[in-house]
Symmetry: C2
Subunit: 171 residues, 2 copies
Amino acid sequence: MSTPRWLDEDEQRAWRAYMRMQGRLTAHLNRRLQADSGLSLADYEVLVLLTDVPDGRLRPFEIQRGLDWEQSRLSHHLSRMQRRGLIAREECAEDGRGALVVLTDEGRRAIGAAAPGHVETVRRVVFDGLSEEEVTALERLSSRVLDRIETTGTPDPPAAGRESRDHGRDG
Amino acid sequence: MSTPRWLDEDEQRAWRAYMRMQGRLTAHLNRRLQADSGLSLADYEVLVLLTDVPDGRLRPFEIQRGLDWEQSRLSHHLSRMQRRGLIAREECAEDGRGALVVLTDEGRRAIGAAAPGHVETVRRVVFDGLSEEEVTALERLSSRVLDRIETTGTPDPPAAGRESRDHGRDG
DNA sequence: GCGGAATGCATGACGCATCATCTATGTTGT
DNA sequence: ACAACATAGATGATGCGTCATGCATTCCGC
C-alpha cells in the first residue's frame, strides 16, 4: 500500500454526494415511516418478507438471508417486534434448534397501513427524480459494489468464508 | 393518495439492490475502519473536517452543517470522541453560547494513520469497480435525490423549514 | 453410535442515533 | 430597556446495531 491512491476530484465529489445522500435518505425514510405508521424501516422490511410468503411464517435464518442482516441484529429486532405484537415466535417442528417467526394480525394490519405511504415516499424522493437510465445505473452500480464487497478479501462476518454462494431467490 | 403507484419491476430491483448495497457498504466500511484503526466512520468524518481547516478548530455547528448531522447526534458524538482523547472542547471567545472543537495530537495521529487504508478500501469496493460514467451517474443521482429530500414538503428536522438555503461550501 | 464440527438462535454489554427538553446567550422590535 | 424570539449547545431516556459469547441440536467422519 505504498502511497495511497487518493480519490480524484470527480470521485471525491461522487463519494461525498453519495455519503450525504444515503445518510439523509435513510433518516428521511425512517422518520416518515415512523411518523405515519409507527414502524421503522427495519420493521417494514421484516414485515414485507413475512407478507410475501403464503402463511406469514418464516425461519429467522431465511429473513436474515433475505435482508442480509447480521444474525444477532435480527434476533434482537425480532424480540422488539414481538414485544410490540407485530410478530410472534413459534417452535419449529422440523428442526429442533429452529424457531418460526409468525406474522400476527396486528403485524399484517401495520404493514398494510404503512405500505402505500412508504412506497409513495420512496417514489417521490427517489424514482420520480430519476430517468430510466439512471434507475438502471443505480441497479447496476449497486450490484457491482455489492459484488465487490462480497469478493474483497475481507471475511466480513455475514456470509463468511467463500462457501455460501447461494443467497438464491432474493424476492 | 388513491391507489398507490407501486414500483415497477425495474424500480423494485434497483431499490432492493440499493438498499442491500448501502447496508452492506456502511457495515463493511465501518468494520474495516474499526479493525484497522479503532475509528468509526463517524469519527473519521469528523476528523476529516477538522484536519481540513488550518488550525484544527471548528465550531460544532460548522461540523454539523458540513456533515449534515443532527445537532444532538453531533453533541453526543463529540462527547465520546472527547472522552477518547481525539478532540477537545474549548470555549468560544466571539460567541458566549458557542464552543470550539479542537483536534488533539492524538486525533491528528489517528486520522493520519486511518486515512490511507480507508481510502484504499473505498477505492477497492466502490471506484475500482465503476466506470467513469457510472461515477458521474452516482454523483448526479445522489445530488438529485438529496435535492428532492430537501424540497419535499416534509420539515425533516435538520435544516428545517425553507430558510436555511445555504450549507455553502461543502468541500 | 460417538466425538467433533457446524448450524440456528438468544443474550448481555456497549457504543451509536433520535427525541424531547433544557440552559444560556444573542438578536430584534417597540 | 425589555420582552419575544432565535440560535448554540448539552443532556437523559430509549430504541437500535455489533461484538462476544453461550447453548442447544443436527450433521458427518470414523
